[in-house]
Symmetry: C2
Subunit: 171 residues, 2 copies
């Protein structure tokens, strides 16, 4: 019974794919190393500026959604406002992020990257894109399509979880 520990993963009835626990274990390990590699370049760049990953995350999501509020960011990142505030404060002080009082609701702060902030964002994301392109190139286009599909699924599972049991955003 070599299939004692097999995970039966099947598509829409078309075909079958058996993955043993050991194959899954290698996938788990690959995730660990891949993610580490994935953050390595930005980490090095950030060090020159005296920033950490927390700053990177804030910069990334402000770039993605310019004008987002602090509360928005809070629920996306899943950290406490105290943690985020510490990071945001330094970014504003250093002139990378612009925090504008809301016009409709003046309690809210809308966050934007300054040109300086946008420049750092480009530097960081270009490093990650470059690494991702390298992996994509080596794997080939079909593998890339599958990779993106699975990753989207993993992301969706996570977003659902976040929404279900902790979207309070104001701990």
């Amino acid at each position: 019974m070599a299939d004692r520990n097999a995970a039966n993963v099947m598509g829409r009835g078309e075909s079958l794919l058996f993955l043993t626990d050991d194959q899954l274990r290698r996938g788990i390990e690959a995730m660990f190393f891949a993610y580490r590699g994935f953050t390595a370049d930005p980490d090095r760049i950030l060090q020159d500026y005296g920033y950490g990953r927390a700053h990177h995350r804030a910069i990334h999501f402000i770039n993605r959604s310019p004008g987002t509020t602090v509360n928005n960011l809070l629920s996306i990142l899943g950290v406490t406002k105290q943690s985020l505030n510490r990071v945001l404060r330094t970014l504003v002080e250093d002139g990378l992020v612009d925090s504008r009082v809301g016009t409709r609701d003046k309690r809210e702060r809308h966050l934007f990257l300054t040109p300086k902030g946008a420049a750092l964002e480009r530097e960081l994301s270009e490093a990650q894109r470059s690494r991702m392109r390298d992996a994509y190139r080596a794997a080939g286009p079909e593998a890339v399509a599958g990779f993106r599909t699975v990753l989207e699924q993993m992301m969706n599972l996570e977003m659902r979880r976040q929404y279900m049991d902790g979207g309070d955003g104001a701990r």
Copy 2:
């Protein structure tokens, strides 16, 4: 020129795949959320034991390579011996890890999981496998094959980097 920012990823001449910077950005984001989801279940479990991710990593790699030495673990994990030692000490004290003096080289300590440690390892990895199976099931077998290919590539790129510029393992 919609392709101004396109990354041309091509296979072995078979087909072409253009990925814009925006598509790559979504991939980057998916990595972030996927990894977070990926560590969420273990993190919850570990909390009950008073452990963190560092303990999980040690347990994982000791399980993968029973009898591995401290130095081995150090170079795999890429942390300082002080950091690893703190974690290892508690695991040994709590009876999850067995540290045996080497027979050939008595300076070395060979690390093994005790039954108790192996039990926790199973609990942790089962949570991760389960989540991975969910994503695989939702994505379908063809996507899974591609996913594994790309992830292996990303891992390989990382292992190569680690070997090149910092495999000193004794900071």
